[in-house]
Symmetry: C2
């Protein structure tokens, strides 16, 4: 592991199922962001994950896989983020899929490259909300999940994911106040430097995704906004 999540401020999340031109990818990788996360919900295959990884590997930036499907795991990543969906109704998105992966690959895993994310999906319209059969938590629920992530499971990351929609700043602030050792990631609907900056006041790391595919210049401006 040649990166330290605790020093991150900003990451870009690339979807293997969406297209980014070579020139845009170059801008992303040389933007000053702390890492590229590869992850998505729909149409994730081993082939499109590895193809995107190889393009990112042309640059110096750490490239992390957010594991959503066992069949798409390649051993070439700099790290692996394992989502544990706190607000799913089903145990399999908390533990069983992960258990299957550990059964299969347990002997080969370098555990220092594998970070569990306590995931909270906050947007009922999001594909990931439906795909992982979530219930919508209120602010009290999220705060209790955050406390569990830090104190009971000692997770490196607690991730509030609004997935496509800009989230509730107050909820992010209240959650941030609960976390000391666990890093708070915020993702969802960031489309400008101002929005990135507003969420960065509370979250440790801002995840920027969709806007990359809509307005690359606006996406790039979020990097500097998080570093100030």
């Amino acid at each position: 592991m040649d990166y330290n999540v605790n020093e991150w401020n900003h990451v870009f999340k690339l979807d293997p199922n969406k297209h980014l031109s070579d020139s845009s990818l170059k801008k992303v990788c040389e933007s000053g962001t702390d890492a590229v996360i590869i992850g998505g919900t729909d149409g994730i295959t081993y082939e499109n994950v590895v193809a995107l990884l190889m393009r990112v590997q042309a640059y110096e930036i750490p490239c992390v896989l957010e594991v959503s499907a066992i069949h798409a795991i390649s051993p070439e990543f700099d790290g692996y983020f394992i989502p544990m969906v706190f607000n799913s109704k089903e145990k399999r998105f908390m533990l069983d899929v992960q258990h299957e992966a550990v059964k299969q690959f347990g002997d080969f895993i370098d555990w220092s490259d594998m970070l569990v994310e306590g995931y909270c999906v906050m947007n009922e319209q999001a594909k990931v909300f439906q795909a992982t059969n979530c219930t919508l938590p209120d602010q009290e629920d999220v705060i209790a999940y955050a406390r569990m992530a830090e104190h009971m499971f000692h997770l490196p990351i607690f991730y509030i994911e609004y997935s496509g929609r800009y989230g509730d700043v107050n909820l992010v602030r209240e959650t941030a106040e609960q976390l000391h050792d666990t890093m708070l990631f915020y993702g969802g609907g960031i489309r400008s430097a101002a929005e990135a900056k507003q969420m960065k006041e509370h979250a440790d790391v801002i995840v920027v995704g969709d806007i990359l595919y809509e307005n690359i210049q606006a996406a790039l401006e979020t990097v500097q906004a998080c570093k100030e």
Copy 2:
């Protein structure tokens, strides 16, 4: 917290729903065991938990509550073990009950007194197996759960519970080999010093329960067997 689980070898588990005479309780608390855990599956009430706690508090020994029902939590214990049942089919025994407790008591919890146990219930006939809607894991499953407990959730305790039946020594040994920072607790069916000693060769901590209510002398002999 005035005890250190990492230094334990042997504990007695007392069931608030079963009767132990004052003289037997005195022998238990002065036996040299490292702690008394209060826990059970059936007939757990606030009243019988607190009544048993008060009797144990007459002695120097640490007294820990293994939390199975929110309504039976008293703030007077030296510590709280929170079971997270890895092989339950239902998320609620992994996380939702715990989440409810953190929502209710989160502001008052001293997290250093609260230890999460990664629990694996290995006896299909046991009440706890049925009560938490478990599936029976094989050895590979248990090993993968143990690795997750240590590397993904950084749990202080991984607990193999055969609940009333003496377990598979080979499985306990293979599991122990996976664990370095997480302590391995073994419980189930220990009725003699020889059995305690055999499991102690692999597990860090031996939990002795049922035999207390059947043969107090045999129960007491397990303490010394674990200290040798």
